[in-house]
Symmetry: C2
Subunit: 225 residues, 2 copies
């Protein structure tokens, strides 16, 4: 396998990253799936990530432990902050400080070791417009930094941060995934899922997902509590 054909793909267990993995594989990449146990409420995501990585043919799936809960500052990792049913204005309380920066940095480290020149992340600037680290200008700045940070960059090998979903609607994402054979019944998107991965049906992530299936005219396989 040529190193130009390897990709590290961030896989959370949710709908977006599953679709991203399917798209990376369709482009011919050997995919190295990477997940994080970071103190999130919804650990059912990690079981989902494992199922998704296997079902979509990842070469390897690695889960890294990192204690973002010790840093605090988000409803997703600080269990004293309630996950709201509806998004307010501005940046949501479910925003985890610098999360994508931390995740991309660990992906960059693994990519360097594996000599992978592509990192896929399923960020989306449409549904998650309130998250600063889902914007195209952020991704572009990250890629520039990454190419100064590493041995690969110094040696002239460009690392690409690939964000195939960034401008897609949720319906487009779901339609793309269906075409590529993604089984969305394996995925968990809910911010407050129970241990079996059943969704609350009320949080922002559930609402966006449900509306996506409706808009895409695809049966919603989500199991709700």
């Amino acid at each position: 396998m040529n190193e130009q054909n390897k990709a590290v793909v961030l896989v959370s267990g949710g709908l977006d990253s599953a679709t991203t993995l399917a798209m990376a594989r369709e482009q011919g990449f050997a995919c190295y799936a990477l997940s994080f146990r970071y103190g999130q409420r919804h650990v059912a995501e990690l079981d989902a990530a494992e199922r998704v990585a296997q079902s979509l043919g990842a070469v390897m799936h690695k889960t890294i432990d990192i204690d973002l809960g010790g840093i605090g500052g988000s409803a997703l990792t600080d269990h004293s902050i309630d996950v709201p049913d509806q998004a307010g204005k501005g940046i949501p309380v479910t925003y985890v400080p610098a999360r994508n920066t931390v995740f991309l940095s660990l992906a960059l480290a693994w990519a360097e070791v594996m000599q992978a020149r592509n990192i896929f992340i399923g960020v989306n600037a449409v549904d998650y417009s309130g998250y600063p680290d889902c914007r195209p200008e952020y991704i572009s700045a990250y890629e520039g930094m990454a190419n100064l940070a590493t041995r690969a960059g110094v040696e002239g090998h460009h690392t690409h941060i690939q964000t195939p979903l960034i401008a897609m609607s949720k319906a487009e994402i779901i339609q793309t995934g269906m075409r590529l054979g993604v089984d969305y019944g394996l995925t968990v998107s809910c911010y407050a899922a129970d241990d079996q991965g059943r969704a609350c049906g009320r949080c922002d992530s559930c609402r966006i997902r449900r509306e996506g299936f409706q808009s895409a005219a695809v049966r919603d396989p989500t199991i709700y509590i």
Copy 2:
């Protein structure tokens, strides 16, 4: 305490980061010291980091666990790669892939939660010229990315990556630290220190440190094995 007077300071337990902490404090910052248990050979560093943070008046000291050893690729975290006695040409085998990027990203997350607008890191482009992530152009790109990554950046608060040592010689660093009351006997620089923090005296880090004390005409307090 005004948020403009808070700083997150990366403290490894080594000589450079101890000096950086002393310099940040001299500038009037309330210092939040941050260390990482990342699979390094030299865990004696972490005991040193705790002593250094306390002795130099850090407001808080946090150690985050992160399994860079699982990613591999460096003599510092992969115990099957020997730490060399002398540096070769190019990027050393002690380079940990994307280490400063990972560390700065966690510092950025904590800074955002603490509303600290300054992050201090003791990188040095003189002694560590072989490390891509110790170069000024890397730090500048990181700062640009960081200000697009966070809620603070979106809200117009600039986060500064402060690298006071970046152009200093080891002798200058030691002389500065002595003036600021750093007890270098508390620090551990060796890549292969034993459990008591005693230095091997042979690795690259030991060599640079010893030559630094000689050039600075300061008694070397290091205890060698």
